[in-house]
């Protein structure tokens, strides 16, 4: 699905060759500052490599419409951003940004249920706790049903139990709907439990991590 060749970015990341398979769960582990987020941002085309090429479904990212690409390959940043308004506004905004039809009431309720957020849709989203905001942001991209989900430390603000539940939700979702899931995580245990494939980023280089 993604194929990376001879890519370098500043002196943060250098990847001679790497492919990421379609419909797989890929976990990216490594210490903070090692370049994990940079790799994810490149796949979302939020930044372009200084050298080398990245292809998505055999097409070079530089030849694709960046907006169309991001609508297929959606990314969730480590610190989730909450937009002004209610929970409903925040769930709908992803679909609005990507010009898709707004979700039904039932879909919205189901999404809250999926991310274990027991709140009212018309509550102000700014009043949520850090962990709740993270779950809301996760719900937002679940609703978008993109082909590829890029999650940067999706559970950093969650307690262990919720973390496991939420990741399980995403893994099940990806498996059921044949989606590709690429997830940066600090937890090797989590990676071992859920990943089809684990990549380790160390000192700007990416290695296969055998487990």
């Amino acid at each position: 699905m993604f194929s990376i060749e001879q890519v370098t970015y500043k002196n943060i990341l250098s990847v001679p060759k790497l492919t990421i398979q379609e419909k797989e769960i890929t976990c990216i582990v490594g210490e903070s500052g090692s370049g994990k987020t940079t790799l994810l941002r490149m796949l979302n085309h939020l930044i372009s490599p200084d050298q080398g090429s990245i292809t998505f479904q055999n097409e070079d990212l530089m030849d694709m419409d960046p907006i169309e690409l991001r609508r297929k390959v959606v990314m969730l940043p480590q610190t989730p951003v909450i937009f002004q308004g209610t929970l409903r506004d925040n769930l709908e905004i992803g679909l609005r940004f990507s010009d898709k039809t707004p979700p039904s009431e039932k879909e919205l309720e189901e999404t809250l249920e999926r991310v274990k957020l027991r709140k009212k849709l018309d509550e102000n989203a700014q009043n949520l706790s850090g962990g709740e905001k993270q779950r809301l942001a996760l719900g937002r991209i679940l609703l978008m049903e993109p082909e590829v989900l890029l999650l940067d430390e999706p559970s950093s603000a969650l307690d262990d139990e919720t973390e496991s539940l939420i990741i399980q939700t995403f893994v099940d979702y990806a498996k059921m709907y044949n989606k590709t899931l690429i997830m940066v995580t600090h937890s090797k245990a989590l990676a071992k439990k859920f990943a089809d494939r684990i990549l380790q980023v160390r000192g700007g280089e990416v290695h296969e991590w055998d487990h």
Partner: protein
């Protein structure tokens, strides 16, 4: 109406007693601002005397090229001033956008005001052309100055918000919408506020000047209403042009936020 009392030089000099009193107070209180007060008073006096003679010359010569030259000087000064006073250095592209929106926005409003609203003749009559150009350009300059700072700050401080929207497949226009709207707001708010307080909180300078010079308050008010609408139009037009073109300079052709 009575004519205006002509001020003799001696009468003007007596007004400097205000400055003398202020200087004594500053000295006694030990506030180290004497130099600034003195310099700004002298600057003000010299600049106004100079501009007085220039205006007399312009009015008497009635030359279309001179009127256009004054317009050019005012536009250049305003653009230079906006760029100089920006809190953080502006990119080359943004500077061009400042210049373009100032020129387009103020000229459109000015031409409409002079030829459709007031209908001056000849078209270059400096008595109308120059002061009205000054008011439109001056107020638009203040508006864009505020807008520039708010836009640049917003794109920097709200970067996570803008990037998050991009990550979800938003176009740069949608991603920057909140920042752009708030820049527009902050740029036209002073003009709107001054309209709200006008006539109650303060009497505007142009109107006061006309009344002092013997013009009927009714005429003065008619002019004031027209010029306020003109100013609001000019400020809004220049600022809309600026923010609509300006946000784009923060993105590259791959719809990515420019770094550094």
């Amino acid at each position: 109406m009575n004519g205006i009392i002509d001020l003799s030089i001696l009468q003007v000099l007596t007004a400097y007693i205000f400055i003398a009193v202020l200087m004594i107070i500053l000295r006694v209180k030990g506030i180290a601002r004497e130099k600034e007060v003195l310099i700004s008073s002298i600057r003000m006096t010299l600049q106004l005397v100079l501009v007085g003679y220039v205006l007399v010359y312009l009015f008497e010569s009635m030359n279309p090229f001179l009127t256009l030259l004054v317009l050019l000087v005012m536009e250049s000064f305003a653009i230079y001033n906006i760029i100089q006073q920006a809190k953080s250095p502006l990119s080359k592209e943004l500077k061009k956008i400042v210049a373009l929106s100032m020129v387009l926005g103020t000229l459109t409003s000015l031409l409409f005001f002079l030829f459709v609203v007031i209908q001056i003749s000849p078209w270059y009559d400096p008595q109308y052309f120059i002061p009205i150009a000054g008011m439109l350009i001056g107020n638009s300059m203040t508006g864009i100055s505020l807008g520039v700072n708010r836009l640049a700050d917003g794109m920097k401080n709200q970067q996570p918000l803008v990037e998050s929207a991009l990550m979800l497949g938003a176009t740069p226009k949608e991603a920057a919408k909140e920042v752009v709207d708030s820049a527009f707001d902050s740029a036209i708010l002073p003009t709107i506020n001054s309209m709200v307080g006008m006539g109650i909180v303060f009497l505007p300078g142009m109107m006061t000047g006309q009344i002092l010079s013997g013009v009927s308050p009714v005429t003065a008010i008619a002019y004031q209403i027209a010029i306020m609408l003109g100013i609001l139009g000019s400020v809004s037009l220049t600022v809309i042009l600026f923010v609509q073109l300006g946000y784009k300079s923060f993105f590259n052709e791959r719809a990515q936020l420019k770094t550094d």
